[in-house]
């Protein structure tokens, strides 16, 4: 479904992402982890087209994505959430979900009035479903800026799902969440996956990563140092070194 090959992004002399190869298969939940500054967010930004790559290719469903602007990638089925919450604070919860509906299906929907005045039953039903997914049904008419932190995170998640993605990129969705919220989030991730969406999860909170993912790729200094199931990755020597520092005190490179 998603194929990164030789993907690199250099900022001056800093190799934020370096020769990354990664394949995500349809229907999987794949984790992308690594210490701070290891290039996880840069990878997401490269996949979404926020900035151009230095080298390498991004293929999505067999199609080359290099050079395509973000809105075209979204229409191809790539959606994301942000590390620091990004919503439209001056729009209501309902409107935030409404304007997110830009998939090819929505764009080809016929009729000026239903499309631009939101009158179609289908649209309303879908937004109601999304509100249900995010547990925000009672707040649909509230401005996004008036929501609590946890509610804003849920809205962001629902908004990404509103675009009918085929691949959903979650950038640290559990940051700042408590146990209960993390449990809710992993249920929500599974629910979206079961509706046919592949998920790439970038996360620091190991509880969530180890709990929901099937495959994990570990980055360090922009390079992939390990790939495997959660169990395999946890036992991996290189990963332990990256996170905890090298066991050999003579090697100061970590």
């Amino acid at each position: 479904m998603l194929e990164l090959s030789g993907l690199s992004k250099h900022f001056g002399g800093v190799k934020a992402v370096d020769e990354l190869d990664l394949t995500v298969n349809e229907g999987e939940i794949v984790g992308l982890i690594g210490p701070n500054g290891s290039g996880k967010s840069t990878t997401i930004n490269l996949i979404c087209g926020v900035f151009g790559e230095t080298a390498g290719t991004v293929r999505f469903r067999g199609e080359l994505m290099n050079g395509k602007p973000p809105h075209q990638r979204l229409r191809a089925g790539l959606a994301r959430t942000f590390q620091n919450i990004r919503l439209f604070p001056n729009l209501t919860v309902w409107q935030n979900l409404w304007v997110a509906q830009n998939s090819p299906q929505d764009v080809s929907a016929r009729g000026f009035l239903p499309r631009w005045f939101g009158a179609t039953r289908r649209t309303r039903r879908e937004i109601a479903d999304l509100l249900d997914l995010a547990d925000l049904g009672h707040k649909d008419d509230e401005l996004a800026s008036n929501l609590a932190f946890g509610e804003q995170r849920r809205l962001e998640f629902a908004r990404a799902a509103a675009t009918r993605p085929r691949l959903l990129l979650l950038d640290e969705p559990a940051a700042g969440m408590n146990q209960q919220e993390i449990a809710d989030l992993s249920r929500r991730i599974h629910r979206v996956r079961d509706s046919g969406v592949t998920i790439l999860l970038v996360e620091h909170v190991m509880e969530l990563v180890m709990g929901v993912t099937e495959q994990i790729a570990v980055l360090n200094f922009g390079r992939k140092i390990a790939f495997g199931t959660p169990g395999e990755v946890q036992r991996d020597k290189a990963v332990q070194e990256a996170y905890l520092g090298a066991s050999d005190p003579g090697d100061g490179s970590a």
Partner: protein, 305 residues
């Protein structure tokens, strides 16, 4: 009503067009100091249509609006990559360019033994469509407010529609809007064009109301006032700019006794307002609260019945 009142009211109406034009761009997050250019272009184009080619005023207004809107879209496309201060400066530069070009344009044709048309710094005289038809100022005022109401209704409908949300998206987070699958480039050009059309209609009316236009009127102060209306009145609803106009003209008229210091006091007032209400009096938050209140009351009323 005497002519003085009608003139003041008509001026308020015509200035409101440029206020709405600047408001629309403010909503999309662009601070344009150049909307007066489209007002001027609309005025010259409409004046040329009725005075030089002797066509009806409807054609004049239409042509004025289209010329202003078309040029606004071209300028919008050219300044697309600029943001913030750079965008503002480029709009200002463009508006000054238009004004200076109008100062040297000298194109006249002979109409009924008289030379009519733009005459550089002397302006464009003889746009007498209204007086040739014995229309009173009061009639023309109705035309102004009729068109203003039409523009306002369109803007309020846009606000209710998805396009209104899209414009607000551009205003709050461009990258996120792009990430939501919106072709932000297209919508920005569209917004620039619509803003140009609105300003152009105001200019077309202005030319026919005063019977002559000169480049000097479309200087940067007009653009600054247009911006101030939206910023003071509020960016939450298209009614906002009208509050700005009311405060500006009402205030300026009521403090004539302090004469030359008026603008200083007005500037200070605007600054204080913007510190405490950065998005104006009727900002999104207040508009939303008013709407909720109104809906609840309606709901309660319906239940009582």
């Amino acid at each position: 009503m005497d002519d003085y009142v009608i003139t003041v009211l008509s001026n308020i109406g015509m200035i409101s067009f440029i206020g709405l034009s600047a408001y629309l761009l403010l909503v999309t997050g662009e601070i344009s100091f150049g909307q007066q250019a489209y007002f001027g272009l609309g005025a010259y184009a409409a004046g040329a249509v009725t005075a030089m080619f002797l066509l009806p005023i409807w054609v004049g207004i239409l042509v004025g609006a289209c010329v202003a809107g078309g040029i606004a879209m071209v300028v919008g496309a050219l300044t697309l990559r600029l943001s913030g201060l750079y965008f503002s400066i480029s709009t200002l530069a463009f508006a000054e360019m238009v004004r200076l070009i109008l100062l040297i344009v000298h194109v006249q044709v002979e109409v009924e033994g008289e030379m009519v048309g733009p005459a550089g710094a002397e302006g464009f005289h003889g746009i007498r469509w209204m007086f040739e038809r014995d229309l009173s100022l009061a009639h023309f005022m109705l035309l102004i407010y009729g068109l203003l109401a039409l523009v306002l209704i369109v803007l309020l409908l846009v606000e209710r529609s998805r396009l209104g949300s899209v414009f607000r998206m551009l205003g709050s987070d461009d990258l996120l809007a792009e990430m939501q699958g919106l072709d932000t480039v297209r919508y920005r050009i569209l917004a620039a064009g619509v803003a140009g059309v609105i300003s152009g209609i105001g200019g077309a009316l202005y030319a026919h109301f005063t019977t002559y236009v000169e480049p000097q009127f479309f200087n940067v102060m007009l653009g600054v006032h247009a911006l101030a209306y939206g910023l003071i009145g509020g960016l939450g609803t298209a009614f906002g700019p009208f509050i700005g106009v009311a405060i500006d003209i009402g205030f300026l008229e009521s403090v004539r006794f302090i004469q030359g210091y008026r603008m200083i006091v007005f500037g200070g007032l605007a600054a204080v307002l913007l510190i405490f209400m950065p998005r104006g009096i009727l900002d999104e938050e207040r508009v939303h609260r008013l709407k909720t209140l109104f809906r609840r009351r309606n709901h309660a009323g319906a239940q009582r019945r």
